[in-house]
Symmetry: C2
Subunit: 409 residues, 2 copies
């Protein structure tokens, strides 16, 4: 195997320390997390291990802190040869022991093409999803089951039907839907598939079902293939709870032939705050896409707890960057989304994203079907350069939605 | 499936909020993270979903905070029926969306026996490891490879041999050892196994090799089985990087017939600080044991960055609690361990633990073999009620270690 000497993963860490300690700390990371030691090696070995040695790439003081300390960003490079093609290797190397080293946060990660290529990336990507769902240019619309646990199959089907009648492109499970007591994922996929076909005779649209992929890891691939075969629209995957390597296996498998919709559950445990952990855009943007998320859910700017402007911009960049070897992913901002917000959504996200609504559909005064219709009407309006108020004149559902939640701003 | 109405998972969260908001917030969690809604359900449905509804079990104000807020612990119960037998279900339910809800930290988790039983727990446990490694009553001694990356097999074998000559029970890989460029895990297991046999002719002890389990998830089980067959002493697993469900599959598999040694790499991203994330004792103690860790590494109290007294005590309790359905796990405190510390280690950990040393072995003035011998001598001394100074009279390695690092206190 040819060793590409110049190819390294660059990781940037935000730390708090005394300024005069930063260089030593950075070197400790670069050497300690690769070859372990430099000064104690015999001469003969230096050359052979040097190809694996980490390097300090930069130290940048960000601000003053208390006690004569500063906040600084340290960038260290790790030779690509130190990794295998797993997220386990990536994370253990760049933020394994180091994650336990006190106040330190992984804030940046640059992965060279030669290593990126060994990860699957999205199987469908934006273009593949558009083709799959028959949506050529506008944003997709996704509804969320209001609740699933404890409901019997006929009740679940009723919810799916109501949402489908709204003309939405996708309906996703509640990501906490694990119990198979009343309806297995397989039964739900079949029932909703049949329901969607019946509804399509009315609406002209097939509504696709994003089923929560659940169960032990050693059965997950088989289940994903089976759900694909049965007609699932997408697989909803709790990517942090399962681990990105589990997701990557799904994305690599040719018999898993439906898009993967990544859910960010548990990720807050990693990105919360700004002193420890890993930045949200790395977890929910960069790694999610590399692992194969065709569509990636993340907390929107419109909810009560947001990622902040910078992290959101970075996250979008990670999902959409076309210099990556991987197909681009569809962002699905979640929380605080109602029909009147659609023009703002277009401003913030363009066309390639998913309008992802829970309360904004189920909370519609006329019910979930009307909620879906309101979103569809709003999107059509913006697509045709029409104001929502204008469009509401010929859409009762949209009018009711604007009355309840208002237009934007 | 009989629904045991009283059986619930209890999760305790530490939050910061206005005191008068706590009850509402707690109810929002209990309902929102289970059945979704209560007030909007038709009468007929209330009974059937009530079995799945979360409950507020307690709210306890811990301290005053700024801005008229308080820090409080909220305990919510989630019916066991809502879960399947995966960590993905457990974490997504109790700390999925909620992890992204601002300043909130999972600080406690009680899992009823009926659900615990569905997780594998350690295959060997303390008793099984003792039998396996032929160590009846004293603490085990484990050495850590000083460095692995970039070294060729003969050099690695040389390091293993030196550590074995010290008479240690186990030698573990550097957990960042992923590259197979010069030696695959399989080659290493065979080479070290043969080396250990040769060394045993001198020392009378077999030193066992904890090989880093690496590679994509879909090949991990096969690799684990193969490494077991080839004679690995244990599997070193980066449990957080791979995910606990991946670990559980290894622990369940009867053809993976070697103990699992859990490494805490990446866990700091989850437990760092006290405002977000998940407590260290839950991640590295409770979940690690449930997933099948026979031996569990965690940051010791003697290093530069510690978990703190409370988290350490809780972690030990999780690993050792005999009211659990699972076998107990061996704690392996890591960092700042040198031979002179052994009496303190006995005080802090008793007999059932692993003396886990890196620098304390490789930094010995007479080399790694002497480092191992110093630890073995120290443990023998304490086991026989002898002072280290006394034992050092007949152990040159121990004498040199006490001179370099001192005795305890």
């Amino acid at each position: 195997m040819t060793l590409l000497q110049n190819e390294s993963v660059h990781a940037t860490y935000r730390v708090r320390d005394k300024e005069q300690q930063l260089q030593k700390r950075a070197e400790g990371i670069a050497i300690g997390l690769t070859i372990g030691t430099w000064t104690e090696l015999p001469q003969a070995r230096l050359k052979q291990v040097s190809a694996h040695c980490g390097q300090v790439e930069g130290i940048h003081v960000v601000s003053e802190a208390e006690d004569g300390q500063v906040v600084a960003d340290i960038t260290v490079s790790y030779p690509v040869a130190n990794f295998d093609a797993t997220f386990a290797a990536l994370l253990t190397t760049v933020f394994g022991k180091l994650s336990m080293d006190g106040e330190i946060r992984l804030v940046g990660l640059k992965i060279p093409t030669s290593l990126q290529k060994r990860f699957p990336g999205p199987k469908f990507g934006v273009a593949g999803c558009r083709e799959r769902y028959g949506v050529q240019s506008r944003p997709l619309v996704m509804s969320i089951f209001k609740a699933c646990i404890g409901l019997r199959l006929p009740e679940l089907v009723g919810q799916f039907e109501a949402q489908s009648l709204g003309g939405v492109d996708l309906v996703k499970d509640d990501e906490i839907f694990f119990t198979e007591q009343y309806a297995t994922p397989e039964e739900r996929v079949v029932a909703y598939r049949d329901t969607a076909r019946a509804v399509a005779e009315q609406t002209g649209r097939i509504t696709h079902y994003a089923v929560n992929l659940t169960g032990p890891v050693h059965r997950l691939l088989d289940r994903a293939r089976r759900l694909s075969e049965l007609g699932a629209g997408a697989l909803l995957v709790n990517v942090v709870a399962y681990g990105f390597d589990v997701v990557a296996d799904l994305a690599r498998d040719p018999d898993v032939h439906v898009p993967i919709l990544a859910h960010p559950a548990v990720s807050g445990a990693m990105y919360g705050g700004d002193t420890y952990g890993i930045e949200a855009d790395i977890v929910l943007g960069q790694l999610a896409r590399m692992a194969g998320a065709d569509m990636a859910i993340f907390p929107s700017m419109y909810g009560s707890v947001t990622l902040g402007r910078r992290a959101t911009d970075n996250l979008l960049h990670h999902l959409r960057d076309e210099t990556s070897v991987h197909k681009t992913s569809l962002p699905a901002p979640s929380a605080g989304i109602y029909p009147g917000l659609v023009p703002q959504l277009y401003e913030d996200f363009g066309d390639d994203f998913i309008v992802n609504a829970g309360g904004g559909i189920h909370g519609h005064p006329q019910g979930a079907a009307a909620g879906g219709k309101a979103f569809v009407a709003a999107i059509e309006a913006v697509g045709h350069g029409m104001s929502l108020e204008q469009a509401a004149l010929s859409s009762e559902p949209l009018a009711a939605a604007l009355k309840k939640w208002g237009p934007t701003k």
